[in-house]
Symmetry: C2
Subunit: 428 residues, 2 copies
């Protein structure tokens, strides 16, 4: 029996409690699988005397996660504090400087400081593992970084914010408006304190930035992810999409193109019969595409105590077993700054708009599209009332940039009642 | 730059060519990701002068895979010969005895000799990796053995024979009889030389035995897998199942119960709306369930040059990166012989039978079920012709053993025209 692997856990919220439960419940199993005991030396959280329903008395207590990270009896610093600055960042840096390995669920921290932290880890002979930061319990970081390491990755996609997928599928199944379901999700405690992190696509964008770095061997570039939230999706969009055999998903797509790395997190239409289209509720899905493997689809719980703790423990077990890989799959110094694509891969687009009910309005819209070089695949005008006319257009493949200039031109015609909703139809 | 990892590849069929192509095409990428070059020293196959569409001139040639396995310039023996005896087994043993690591796609070899080979590997400080042996390109061995290693695994399921899934989904979509589609699959070259390996569930059973060993920390026990093929599935079964919202799949299930390890590979009904139910064509799916993670679903190509070579290279890259784990997730000596479950977990069953069209026939059948303690959930009698009556019964939850005794009793009544088809309805 070799020496135990000793954890220091900072942050004892839902996930921290889950990790402690696994270590306590499955001590023998973890030892049998890794060849050494996995133990907890010390923990840290904001409130010491809170009842968390889990036994903490055997562990040393530290008020300050930075102190915890530096303890001599901690081999692996498990960071479950959250946030891209402040104590989480300070403590991770302290752990790495002390040569300790880090396991984290903190997507924001790595999305903003991944490159610097990876360099710091390597300079100190430490590793950073972050399976729990992306798509909860789905072992997608391992699948991408290890299982598919013989592939040139061609595209990575994911529905990685369970709250957004819950909102969109609930709108469809119950026929409810966005605002109503947003309020429901809020009441159920599904939303972050700042809901923009969820519905604005930021949280999912963090995850996509991490996947893209690993997939394409480049530095994490969260600022290069084009973000668009689901706030403007109306029940009409969901119904129109369904009529045409599509579903609306907040979909992340990263792909290396001849024009650079294209990364975007935005509401898209995907075929209702595809695995992504069939994804219901808060479940997450990650789609990995490689030149040899083709398409691999991974599906599972994206959040919650058990699934996220499972991912944390997968990383802890890897470290216990001596698996030591660079943070983003290759040495940090060899990760190039990604060239951001100056244009997106063309796709068909779904456009919904409301026109003033005047003669020639539709002709003006069509001519704006034509002048931008965009041809129309289908168009539908719905019943209208009170002088305005809802119109639905599906274009042939077009560049997003061309579409944006067409939309800008439409605004100048005076026939639009409000800004059109434009959704990419992704070929998944 | 550390020293290259040198491969010796035995078997240059579809998968071998795929592996060689990856090594040739992606030399720089593999080096960047693993920190060392991956090279091929020598190859071996039955026919030397066959045009395989790939450049072999740089590699030494061996007629005998055993000699290849022993070469000084080979670090990893890649076994793509196939078969559970003969040259594949001899060469793998030779490689392990020489302390060389083995990467294999050979499910039959490991299903029959996994324990002995794992012991041999450990005695010689070598590792065996077999991602390519289970579900082709899907990194399910890695997900189960590493990613979910913080979980007590509660159940593992899989549709892992693409040919069978092709046959079953093609029967449904084209409304064709089993024999017709079987012939199509044969003409398309989808079937093994001995088609029983596919349609009899043997190939998929091998894979399930490997997953079960890894999932439950026990010795591989292929003989403990209850095998049932798809040969008796009629288009009627598929249509009746569809009417009730189900699809028929050749489904492998392994779970640890209070009565021991239950492992079976058999045609089952699964909800049409579940990920397993939605799986079309030759695609594979593996479902992993753990006490913390819940359900993780993995989907991808189960065979073919690229996907299988991707899995082989994933293993090669792990070895290049210094990842060295016991074959079945824990030391071979600690793997217990599994106690085989003496009874299956109860489930509802679908029963189809043809009765002689005589008064009281149905009553006799119903009473056979009643006497075995099985209650009927639904029953349907179809139009009949020429003196016989097709009957469809769905039972409430029952033990398979009880059902078998009911069916035996039915045979004694003289009202059955032929043996009933009984399919488990799996709760997926």
């Amino acid at each position: 029996m070799t020496s135990p692997l000793r954890l220091g856990i900072a942050g004892i919220g839902t996930v921290g409690v889950g990790v402690i439960r696994i270590v306590q419940r499955h001590a023998d199993m973890l030892t049998a699988r890794s060849g050494r005991p996995v133990t907890i030396s010390a923990v840290s959280a904001r409130a010491r005397n809170k009842d968390r329903g889990v036994r903490l008395g055997d562990y040393a207590w530290e008020d300050d996660p930075v102190t915890l990270a530096g303890r001599d009896d901690v081999d692996v610093f498990v960071e479950l504090v959250g946030g891209d600055t402040g104590p989480a960042k300070d403590a991770v840096e302290a752990a790495l400087k002390a040569g300790k390995d880090v396991v984290t669920a903190n997507k924001a921290l790595l999305a903003h400081h991944g490159q610097a932290l990876a360099e710091l880890a390597e300079a100190n002979g430490a590793v950073i593992r972050f399976e729990a930061a992306v798509a909860g319990g789905i072992p997608c970081i391992k699948a991408l970084g290890e299982g598919l390491s013989g592939n040139e990755i061609t595209r990575v996609m994911g529905v990685m914010n369970g709250t957004c997928n819950y909102i969109l599928t609930r709108m469809e199944s119950a026929g409810l408006a966005y605002d109503t379901v947003f309020q429901e999700a809020s009441d159920l405690g599904y939303l972050e304190a700042d809901p923009t992190l969820d519905v604005g696509g930021i949280d999912a964008g963090h995850k996509l930035a991490l996947l893209a770095s690993l997939a394409f061997g480049c530095q994490v570039d969260f600022d290069g992810v084009a973000l668009e939230g689901i706030e403007r999706i109306a029940i009409d969009d969901i119904n129109h999409a369904a009529d045409m055999g599509f579903r609306v998903k907040l979909l992340g797509v990263a792909q290396m193109t001849g024009r650079g790395l294209e990364a975007r997190m935005s509401p898209c239409l995907v075929p209702a019969s595809s695995p992504l289209g069939q994804l219901e509720g808060a479940t997450n899905m990650v789609v990995l595409e490689g030149d040899s493997v083709g398409q691999v689809v991974l599906r599972g719980a994206g959040a919650g105590e058990g699934p996220t703790a499972s991912a944390v423990m997968g990383d802890v077990m890897d470290i216990a077993r001596g698996i030591r890989l660079p943070t983003f799959g290759r040495p940090a110094a060899s990760l190039a700054k990604p060239k951001r694509a100056d244009a997106n891969v063309p796709a068909p687009f779904y456009l919904r708009m409301v026109l003033t009910d005047k003669p020639g309005a539709l002709a003006k819209i069509a001519s704006c599209l034509g002048e931008a070089g965009i041809s129309i695949d289908r168009m539908r005008q719905y019943d209208h009332a009170a002088g305005s006319a809802p119109v639905l257009i599906v274009t042939h493949k077009a560049m997003r940039q061309s579409l944006d200039s067409a939309i800008a031109a439409m605004s100048g015609t005076g026939v639009l009642e409000s800004d059109p909703v434009a959704l990419r139809i992704e070929d998944v």
